[in-house]
């Protein structure tokens, strides 16, 4: 690999990692704060991508679609929390997994009814449909740069929000001592509902912005869910900082794994191994730090 290829792959890896962060941060927040394992999280990513595809067809405007999609996802999050998730806070993990698995089935069926089972693609919005020339015959797409920047801005807002706003204080307080938070007059149920809806919006938003660079297909939710869980476990359950570090690690390893070649007996074994590499990373990290990189010991 020459320097330009390495640079481009590094950019792609970081971009993929940042996108993973958006999905995984919702997952880890919901687990860290509310103690709920939500395996339906990937469905929201899938719903986001399909929403983006529909909105492009109906409105023809990516940006308006993005806005409406986030609002729809937020409302969906509020409703789901009210109908199902709030009953899971004091239940054990098996019950949480069963209920949220039920949600996966419902969403998958609904997707099939509303959108069908076909694979679609979404066009890159005209405004960002260009590329930056790196060398004479290599260019990097503006859309991917925009996508990474958006993810970074959201990540910064999240860190600032948690550290410096009143809502952030409530979230941290609830994480430390739920009963005491209530006893200070804070409606923790409302805080939880908001966080859940925020997590859903983040996942849907990720699905929407990733639609133009990957295809929109039925199984995309499950795929992203598994990788996001790897990120959450590597980073440490409940840790936003950990999710960021782990997401970048996974993004880079996965991306480089796919372009690395390693010939054994004349057969290139690497692309096949790439899918496994992130799980190998997870196993390795768990061996030395069972609680994940930034996880707290229990």
């Amino acid at each position: 690999m020459d320097a330009v290829t390495i640079f481009i792959q590094a950019m792609n890896g970081i971009q993929y990692g940042l996108l993973l962060f958006l999905v995984a941060s919702g997952l880890t927040l919901i687990f860290g704060i509310m103690g709920v394992i939500n395996i339906a999280h990937g469905s929201f990513y899938m719903i986001g991508a399909y929403l983006a595809w529909s909105f492009m067809g109906w409105i023809g405007n990516f940006w308006l679609g993005l806005f409406v999609g986030v609002v729809v996802a937020f409302v969906l999050g509020l409703v789901l929390e009210f109908l199902f998730i709030r009953f899971l806070y004091d239940k054990d993990h098996l019950q949480q997994v069963l209920v949220t698995y039920g949600l996966i089935l419902i969403f998958s069926e609904l997707r099939s009814v509303i959108w069908g089972d076909d694979v679609h693609s979404v066009a890159i919005p005209a405004l960002l449909d260009g590329s930056i020339q790196l060398t004479e015959n290599l260019a990097y797409p503006v859309y991917r740069i925009w996508l990474s920047s958006v993810c970074i801005v959201i990540a910064i807002l999240m860190f600032l929000g948690i550290q410096h706003t009143r809502l952030g204080m409530m979230i941290r307080a609830g994480e430390s001592d739920r009963e005491m938070t209530k006893a200070l007059g804070i409606n923790i149920g409302l805080v939880y509902r908001f966080i859940f809806a925020l997590g859903v919006s983040l996942a849907a938003f990720s699905g929407m912005i990733s639609a133009p660079i990957s295809s929109v297909f039925p199984g995309m939710g499950g795929q992203v869910l598994i990788v996001s869980f790897v990120v959450v476990v590597i980073g440490g359950l409940g840790s936003i900082k950990g999710a960021m570090v782990a997401a970048l690690l996974v993004g880079l390893i996965d991306t480089f794994g796919k372009v690395t070649t390693l010939h054994i007996f004349g057969v290139n074994i690497f692309p096949e191994m790439a899918g496994m590499s992130i799980f190998a990373l997870m196993a390795l990290i768990l061996m030395f730090r069972p609680q994940g990189i930034f996880g707290r010991e229990h």
């Binding site: 204080m169 009963e179 007059g185």
Partner: protein, 237 residues
């Protein structure tokens, strides 16, 4: 109409199959300081948690300021004017001292603002030096001061302290008793649990003794001190 701030009538509570509160009745009047006593495991903490809606009551009534407290969730009871300093202090470890206080600060019933951030810091000068410290960096005494200061910042009408001086060195414990004196003088009703019979009975207007989930004594402290054999049976002092 009496001037009862809180009235508890025939309150029962269970943890699963175990019947922990067995018909507790109690009145807390405005401005009163009540000592809640009893040996380990007699149900003091459970009673307190029931009053705060943290543990469900199986039957009986809790009336707070003429409202049915059993219908209100914990955060609404807190807003109605009950503040809580729990066993183990309940400090938010991942928040700084300042944040612990900020999170609690608000005006009380009918906009009362007797306790402000500045007044709390003046009352607990040790906290002032540690504003940016995390909750877990504090000593036990500092944690208790923070927990009490935080409770006061909600400008409550009823302050409930569970194990007010547990695990504190005598000098620090004395600081806490002094603060409780100030709180008492400011007209806030208090319900205090503590193992130190002498200090607790001295500071309170009334002693309430629990044995196995029931109240066996409810009168002024001199009546209790006059019955040494009962003291020994009920409290082991």
């Amino acid at each position: 109409m009496s001037n009862a701030l809180m009235t508890v009538k025939d309150l029962h509570s269970h943890y699963g199959m175990s019947h922990v509160l067995r018909g507790v009745s109690l009145e807390i009047n405005s401005g009163e300081t009540i000592a809640l006593m009893g040996r380990n495991g007699m149900g003091k903490t459970t009673l307190i948690k029931c009053l705060l809606g943290l543990v469900p009551a199986t039957s009986g009534d809790i009336i707070f300021r003429e409202q049915d407290a059993k219908l209100l969730s914990t955060h609404l009871l807190a807003k109605a004017g009950i503040a809580y300093v729990p066993e183990g202090r309940g400090i938010f470890k991942n928040l700084s001292v300042k944040e612990n206080l900020f999170l609690a600060a608000r005006s009380g019933f009918e906009g009362r603002m007797d306790w402000t951030y500045d007044r709390v810091l003046d009352s607990f000068p040790r906290l002032k030096e540690r504003l940016t410290h995390g909750g877990q960096q504090l000593s036990g005494g500092e944690q208790q001061m923070l927990s009490i200061g935080r409770a006061l910042l909600t400008n409550p009408d009823l302050l409930i302290l569970d194990e007010a001086t547990e695990g504190l060195a005598p000098l620090i414990a004395q600081d806490i008793w002094n603060i409780i004196d100030v709180i008492k003088a400011s007209g806030i009703s208090t319900l205090i649990v503590d193992k130190n019979f002498k200090s607790l009975s001295k500071i309170s207007n009334r002693c309430v003794v629990m044995v196995k989930g029931e109240i066996v004594f409810n009168d002024i402290s001199s009546q209790l001190i006059a019955r040494p054999e009962a003291l020994k049976n009920w409290l082991g002092v």
